[in-house]
Amino acid sequence: MKQSKAVEIAVGLFVAAGMAALFILAMKVSNLSTSVNGESYTITASFDNIGGLKVRSPVTVSGVRIGRVDSIVYDFETYEAVVQLRIGNSYDRFPEDTTASIFTAGLLGEQYVALEPGGSEDNIMPGDRIQLTQSALVLEQMIGQFLYNTASAEEK
């Protein structure tokens, strides 16, 4: 029976190692530890242009990740893109005049929503809409504008 005990211990270790590997993959490799789970609330923001923003893109404030994009729909009433942001409950004291901007991480990186708190006394409530937004900068538009400006400067 000694042998079977060794077998059982080996199998136990093997299963434990497998579970540990799954745990590592979940916690260390994937975004589980940084994603918003459980307690959270949503607010919405409308943009003229969201550029390359996608569902699940991060939402940050001062560079700290606090949530992610929950859904993106197009609103025919306002002809704007309505983005729903899911934010962790521990970040629940943003002023009413907070600005939401879409930035790009690095030159070619992914796009994310950055919140910038204003100075108002009143806080945003869950389900509210952020009034102040700044659309994504589209590289082609910027280049086009730059060329147009240089061209018109030369004309003078």
Binding site: V7, A21, A26
Partner: protein
């Protein structure tokens, strides 16, 4: 004139007959799985020979595959000045594809062939028949525990492969090539999704484990009970197992990541 046509027909009939037998066999196994809950000891023993004994090759392969990914990824990414994304590249390659697929191929080669040879030899030496005469159902006593053990071991092995591979990539990328440690992990965490990437990888490994073990035990049970028959069955296990895994991988990838 009719020769080749007839041969083709015979091959086709034989193929479908085997396919049918394989499925009947699978149903017979599945019908016996509930009874195994009363005898977990049998399964534990088989997890030892199927899982634990395959662990070493998985650990070593995982480490080296991760290291190679680190090296190759670094060379390519540094051309674009995006070395920070090395973690993402290594982790996604491992979790989505290489982890489940390479593990399944190694599993078919190491554990699957051993299963086939063992069951085939038990058949050839009348051990299965002997059990039947002792009023012990070999499907229940021999086949079903091995099948369950393979099915349970594969996802664990694939997870270990991926995890060790990520550290292999870390070792080369951060340790030897000087990628920033924080960037390696944070980029990985920011871009690897639990649901889309990890879960799908695990589902792949479960499917591969199911199919590879099924093929292995069926080939063993269906082997012609001679030395030549067992050796052919063992070869078939590896070849068919590998083909099934790669084919299924394409189908699963298209379903999971296709859109």
């Amino acid at each position: 004139m009719l020769g080749p046509l007839q041969r083709l027909g015979r091959t086709g009939i034989g193929f479908f007959e085997r396919l049918g037998r394989g499925h009947v066999f699978l149903l017979q196994i599945l019908a016996r799985l509930p009874a195994l809950l009363l005898r977990p000891g049998l399964v534990v023993r088989q997890i030892y020979s199927v899982g634990v004994l395959t662990l070493l090759i998985i650990l070593v392969s995982g480490l080296f595959v991760g290291m190679v990914l680190g090296l190759q990824g670094f060379n390519t990414l540094s051309d674009f000045g995006a070395e920070e994304s090395l973690g993402v590249a290594v982790a996604l390659a491992l979790v989505r594809e290489l982890g489940p697929v390479v593990t399944a191929l190694l599993f078919a080669g190491r554990a699957g062939s051993a299963l086939t040879a063992e069951i085939g030899l038990m058949k050839a030496t009348e051990q299965l028949s002997g059990m039947e005469m002792m009023a012990v159902d070999p499907m229940k006593r021999v086949i079903a525990p091995r099948f369950l053990a393979g099915f349970l071991s594969m996802p664990l092995l694939a997870a270990i492969f991926s995890a060790i591979g990520v550290y292999g990539g870390f070792f080369v990328g951060v340790g030897l090539l000087g990628v920033d440690e924080g960037a390696y992990w944070s980029q990985m965490q920011a871009n690897v999704d639990l649901q889309d990437d990890i879960y799908n990888g695990v589902i792949k490994s479960i499917v591969f484990g199911f199919v590879a073990t099924w093929i292995a035990v069926f080939e063993g049970y269906d082997a012609v009970p001679t030395s030549e028959g067992v050796s052919r069955a063992t070869t078939r296990t590896v070849v068919h197992g590998a083909l099934a895994v790669l084919g299924l991988d394409f189908v699963l990838t298209a379903l999971m990541f296709g859109d």
